[in-house]
């Protein structure tokens, strides 16, 4: 321990100016985060934009500090003076980790406390969340970077590798539309956990390997494998498998034997309430009759996968984004079929075979939100604000500390609404964690905007429901003509 402190003190002396800069940056992060308002005003929007920009730069500051302190006793190479000095490798690793804990983790922890307290959430009530966030934050944002620093010996090398990885991630997550780490809704926590687990495990293998044996080539191999796995495995997880896993984790089985889903041939195609265009695919809304949903409960689909089968036994898979939704009291199955398949089969009778995972929502609560500049607490959703513009546009934002709510906020927020409005639930995360992995401790739990016809409207209701349970209920629709249900 004496050597740990000795090396730590040396590093503090070496990086005293960098530490000051990073601490100042973290303090500014706390101030900006604490004063960013959920209400969209010109002023708060300015702060928010600054905050978003800042959230990009702050991690770069942390990573710079981490790389610099690790590189002070760089591991690759054989010309560093410390290699032939009586360093205990465990002490060296301990000193570096202590440095990171003191100058990155602790300031972030304090900044989190300041941000949530300033936003009206007392930090003392969120201690387990703070701890969970530190674990996720360290495993995702720090440990892999520490590992990367141990296989590089120059800042330029470190940042080149980091930039390369970041570009690859950007391409995969954004350009290919494979999701984002900042989305934790529904069962996204499973893919996110896998991503964090792969990177964290690789870091935990690389760190002792580098500090004990300095096997840089092997460590680089592990790092490359981990990055490739982290980029591909979570993105390529079949949604059916994800929701199957989620279903297996559900504490108690859900009684769903009464729920029946069948094709409703009596209904004709009507003007749809919702379009979801997918390039190169035909959009088809198939009417369904859903019966047996317990009174007071709502049914939402988490994942529906559809296989089309022609009369001669040929099969095609949907292109994704299939969903079950409710509009004006009726359920619809929205399927996207490749244009070529649609053109070929549109007038032939086909069978749709589905694999479908559902969640039953219930325990509805309604909270009243008045149009005002100040935010108000909405149970389950955090602090919500409603801003009404001159054009009678209502803009509603809710934010909560650490994680997305487990509640579903229904987008039907006009007073006296009935089930006749389109019901697309927002939010709702099945994550068992107490925190998420974002840079900011605040999470947007609900965002919505709408144009209201009644100019005298002074308040709206936000309805929330909880997930009562998940279940799988596959169904088949026989001999339908796709062209009859095409959305033009």
């Amino acid at each position: 321990m004496r050597q740990v402190l000795h090396i730590f003190k040396k590093d503090v002396r070496c990086f005293r100016y960098e530490i000051l800069v990073i601490l100042s940056m973290t303090a500014l992060f706390a101030v900006l985060g604490g004063h960013s308002q959920p209400v969209v005003t010109q002023f708060s929007q300015g702060i928010d934009e600054l905050n978003v920009l800042y959230r990009l730069f702050l991690p770069v500051g942390w990573w710079y500090l981490i790389a610099a302190v690790i590189h002070e006793e760089a591991l690759p190479g054989h010309q560093q003076f410390w290699l032939t000095r009586p360093y205990a490798r465990t002490s060296l690793l301990g000193a570096k980790l202590l440095f990171i804990v003191v100058f990155v983790n602790l300031p972030v922890l304090l900044a989190d406390c300041v941000i949530i307290s300033t936003q009206g959430f007392p930090a003392s009530g969120y201690l387990p969340n703070l701890l969970c966030r530190q674990i996720l934050f360290s495993t995702l944002w720090l440990l892999p970077l520490v590992a990367l620093a141990t296989v590089t010996n120059r800042l330029r090398q470190f940042f080149t590798a980091l930039l390369t990885i970041a570009v690859l991630f950007f391409i995969l997550f954004y350009a290919l539309g494979m999701g984002t780490l900042f989305y934790w809704g529904r069962a996204a926590w499973i893919a996110n956990s896998l991503f964090i687990l792969i990177l964290g495990m690789a870091a935990l293998v690389i760190l002792p390997l580098q500090y004990a044996k300095r096997r840089t080539t092997l460590s680089c191999g592990i790092a490359i494998c981990a990055v490739v796995l982290a980029m591909t495995v979570p993105a390529l997880l079949p949604p059916a498998a994800v929701y199957g896993f989620q279903l297996a984790l559900w504490k108690s089985p859900t009684e769903h034997s009464s729920v029946h889903i069948v094709f409703d041939g009596t209904r004709e195609r009507t003007q749809t309430w919702m379009t979801d265009t997918v390039r190169g695919a035909a959009e088809i809304d198939v009417p369904l009759e859903v019966t047996g949903v317990p009174k007071g409960a709502d049914l939402i689909s988490d994942y529906v996968g559809v296989t089309l089968e022609s009369a001669d036994g040929r099969r095609w898979q949907d292109v994704g984004r299939t969903m079950l939704y409710r509009s004006r009291g009726h359920y619809w199955l929205k399927v996207h079929v490749r244009d070529a398949v649609f053109e070929q089969q549109k007038n032939n009778p086909v069978t749709l075979r589905t694999i479908a995972y559902f969640t039953l929502l219930g325990d509805r609560k309604s909270s009243r939100l008045e149009a005002q500049a100040k935010s108000a607490a909405v149970p389950g959703l955090g602090l919500c604000s409603a801003l009404v513009t001159r054009q009678r546009d209502w803009s509603i934002i809710c934010r909560s500390p650490f994680r997305d709510t487990s509640l579903f906020a229904l987008d039907s927020i006009i007073p006296n609404e009935s089930d006749d409005t389109l019901s697309l639930p927002q939010g709702g995360s099945y994550s068992p964690y107490l925190a998420e992995s974002g840079i900011s401790p605040l999470v947007a739990t609900f965002q919505g905007s709408m144009t209201v016809t009644d100019p005298s409207l002074k308040a709206v209701n936000i309805n929330t429901e909880s997930a009562l349970g998940h279940f799988r209920s596959d169904f088949e629709i026989h001999d339908i003509r796709l062209d009859d249900y095409l959305i033009q």
Partner: protein
């Protein structure tokens, strides 16, 4: 004889290039061992393996009785390493470097540090990155002598230094490291000749010889034979007679196994018309060149 350093069939390959090829080296305790050889001979590679900075491809190396690949914190409290290429923490002042290193070594001698600082005229406030090459080497040597190590390993410590600094470094080393085993690789043969007790010659990854300096200088002579007529070199030329060449009636070569009586007798046996034979002692530099040129010609 107890060895401070011992290697057995030590080999190191960098891809297809054999930097070391079955090196067998023994350095007795207390010796000042000079490891010499041309550029690329494998001196630095040998030292790096001994210091556990790189791993050998095969064979083994022991340092102070421990497998070099297992050298740990405990062993390094008794080993000093100074290298021309060593990356020192440039941001530290000399004073802070010495203060920082102090707790790592139980045998740290503050009085010795002061003495060395005075001897080397080291400015304690100067940052290491601002020091000249010579001063940096002095700082490195001070930080390596301060704990009175059992073994000091120096890799090309004199390269690029002026004569004055080299002299100061050598003096400091000899005065303060008496009884310590020293392994030093250098191209500065004249400097080595003045203080090394043992010498090893490495060429193309192989140790050509390794012996006491006195025995080496004893067995090498430049030989000049003046014959009655221009001599003809016999087809069976002794292996120990290096770099023969003739000029009119004069034959010159380097005898690498000199024995005044035996060598003279052998010369007379091979050149019966020899009128005069002279033997001139050789400097380390001359021996080194004879070896290097012979090796180049053979290659």
């Amino acid at each position: 004889m107890t060895c401070a350093i011992r290697t057995e069939n030590l080999s190191k390959k960098f891809k297809d290039l054999a930097a070391l090829d079955g090196l067998n080296l023994s350095i007795p305790e207390g010796a000042i061992y000079a490891l010499v050889g041309p550029n690329g001979a494998g001196k630095t590679t040998t030292i790096k393996i001994l210091m556990n900075l790189v791993h050998a491809s095969s064979g083994r190396a022991e340092v102070l009785g421990i497998e070099s690949s297992h050298l740990s914190r405990r062993e390094f409290t008794n080993i000093g390493y100074v290298s021309e290429n060593q990356e020192m923490p440039g941001w530290m002042t000399v004073e802070y470097l010495l203060e920082y290193l102090k707790p790592f070594y139980p045998g740290w001698d503050c009085a010795l540090v002061k003495e060395l600082q005075r001897q080397f005229d080291l400015s304690p406030r100067a940052k290491i990155r601002q020091l000249s090459r010579g001063m940096r080497m002095k700082a490195a040597l001070t930080s390596s002598l301060a704990y009175r190590p059992k073994l000091i390993v120096m890799d090309e410590p004199f390269t690029g230094l002026d004569a004055m600094v080299r002299d100061q470094l050598t003096e400091g080393l000899l005065e303060q490291a008496a009884g310590t085993t020293v392994l030093i690789s250098s191209h500065d043969l004249a400097e080595l000749e003045s203080f090394a007790s043992h010498i090893g010659y490495l060429a193309r990854g192989k140790l050509c010889f390794s012996e006491e300096m006195s025995s080496l200088t004893e067995r090498f002579r430049e030989v000049e034979v003046i014959c009655a007529a221009p001599p003809v070199l016999p087809s069976e030329w002794p292996e120990a007679w290096m770099r023969p060449h003739t000029s009119a009636a004069v034959l010159r070569f380097v005898e690498s196994r000199f024995d005044s009586e035996k060598t003279a007798a052998e010369i007379l046996r091979r050149f019966p018309d020899a009128r005069n034979v002279s033997f001139t002692p050789m400097s380390l530099r001359a021996i080194f060149l004879a070896f290097a040129k012979t090796a180049n010609e053979a290659a």
